[in-house]
Symmetry: C2
Subunit: 341 residues, 2 copies
């Protein structure tokens, strides 16, 4: 394929190269008519990628930093991969680092990232280090926060609607007839963990489910801790007929606990998890889940990043809150016997 | 815990700080007696980590690069995580990048890595770019190759014994009475893929199994391609009684193909895979596999790296070939009917 240049766009639009440049960079005056001609030519020639590469040429370091909590987390690595693929189209490489949810490490790495002269930073934050994150932004390095906010920092952001996902999960179980619903929740000092727990608790209250506190147990986003809490739930004198688990890692522990006790899903108990579908592909019975559109999160993140890299002008931070989707499989069924509280 | 210093070691050993330094850096003359005293003091105080950090202090950039094929590969990310944890003890951060098995990308990233002034590089190579890898080594950046060799480059290396693992997998199936064994193999221009196929083919010949070529099919280390080849195997007029699959990604496709046709493991067909165990944790029936000791690979890699970072003297490259282990679960059984070729 021929490499489309700004000159081709100008020819196609019947305007000067200077006018195309003005439109691309959103700088200087062009008439509405000229702008439309240029935009149509850009679309007809599918010019955006080359335009991006071109406008970036001057001060490229070709590096975008990405700082995640854990490189061993397949959910985050899937998002990272989509972002990386997209950045490669702009000739950029992704430099990946991890802070392991440790604020001191995050601080050191943010320092290191500033020294690297990256063109942008994608950050899955610990939630701390507000001032340091602000310092990065002040140095004119675009920062995109993914998965979690940093309180008091205003920048581009993509997060799940965690509250909604939890609320809807409980609502679905309730619609099947469950009223004694167990919840295994994550780390609540973390905004993701807190929002997911809040959504579940509010739904339990709103929908008139059992308010028995022994049904709500911590799993700390950890498989073994979830195994322990799940076992406790299953051993209750009056156990739940359904369990909602706030992430995939904990759900691994939950399923092990259920298997170890010879309990059948969904005949004896229904389960639903908040998380990505790909890791459950071969599980029998297939798992019902509230799933994050991972591909979409990666794609949206890449678009936000590209815009920051391409545009010369500053614009207000964009914040995307992405709603997870209920994916109904066969791990949930109506309870066999209505258990009264 | 009190921070142990070089002075504490000197006091404990009853020698000068200079003598301890000589022992630590393996430089200059110290008597055998002094060396022993220092080594005992180091052991008694458990001093190694601080010593490492100390001897590195002078010219630290605190960065170690790691260049992998895919950041979305859980096997590689698990190794990376172990290496990262170990490097953190030396105050080093891991910078992760990926080349997606593309030699041009690998070349660009090797260039970028040299500019970064990393203290060392862990490389899962594409197998190409021999000269460029040699250039990195010539720049006195220690390079550790993991998973794959680069022909003609002499440096520290950790690889699986792929040939052995495949050979032993077939041997195990043969010992159960299988003689029509299907094989789904990976990309053979890649040394890992080639060694695994060779091991399987040699075992099939040596052990007198069926040499029917229609039993040996490509999966290109890809789930969908393996699904296709697995389906073809299952539809043969005289299908195999067992299938050996050369990696986990392809095994996902194999299991889907088996499930989609309603065939039972291990009653109707036995399967065995070469790969890490962790991703099969919840699979029923549990999968028999030839498994890489991932933790050990990560730990050994970290030791090799640490030695390069700490030692001031050069030494000959170390090459570790790690044997995978057969982990017997219930996805293999003796064939119901002896099928003759």
């Amino acid at each position: 394929m021929k490499n489309i240049t700004i000159k081709d766009v100008a020819n196609k639009a019947g305007v000067s190269v200077g006018s195309v440049s003005k439109v691309l960079n959103n700088k200087g005056y062009v008439s509405k008519e000229t702008r439309e001609k240029v935009e149509m030519a850009i679309e007809a020639l599918n010019y955006q990628v080359n335009a991006a590469a071109r406008s970036l040429k001057a001060s490229r370091t070709k590096k975008v930093g990405m700082l995640v909590s854990y490189i061993s987390n397949p959910y985050l690595m899937s998002i990272a991969k989509t972002i990386e693929d997209s950045l490669r189209e702009l000739g950029c490489h992704l430099l990946l680092m991890s802070h392991n949810e440790d604020e001191a490490t995050e601080r050191e790495l943010l320092q290191l990232i500033m020294e690297q002269r990256v063109e942008a930073l994608v950050l899955i934050p610990t939630g701390g280090n507000r001032e340091m994150v602000q310092t990065v932004i002040n140095q004119k390095i675009p920062v995109l926060l993914v998965d979690k906010k940093v309180e008091g920092v205003s920048t581009d952001l993509i997060v799940d609607d965690n509250y909604y996902g939890s609320y809807e999960s409980i609502k679905y179980l309730s619609s099947l007839g469950h009223s004694r619903i167990g919840v295994i929740y994550g780390v609540t000092k973390n905004s993701v963990g807190k929002e997911r727990l809040d959504g579940a608790l509010d739904a339990i209250k709103d929908l008139g489910c059992s308010l028995d506190e022994s049904l709500i147990r911590p799993g700390e986003f950890d498989s073994e801790k979830a195994y322990k809490s799940a076992t406790e739930l299953l051993l209750l004198p009056n156990p739940p007929t359904a369990i909602y688990c706030c992430n995939n890692t904990m759900t691994t522990g939950l399923i092990k606990a259920i298997n170890d006790r010879g309990i059948k899903i969904p005949d004896d108990i229904s389960i639903i998890t908040f998380g990505d579908a790909s890791q459950w592909e071969l599980l029998q019975p297939p798992l019902t889940l509230m799933t994050q559109p991972l591909k979409r999160i990666g794609v949206e993140a890449a678009i936000l990043l590209k815009n920051r890299l391409i545009m010369n002008e500053e614009y207000l931070p964009k914040q995307l809150i992405i709603k997870p989707e209920l994916q109904i499989r066969s791990s949930c069924a109506s309870p066999k016997v209505e258990v009264r509280d």
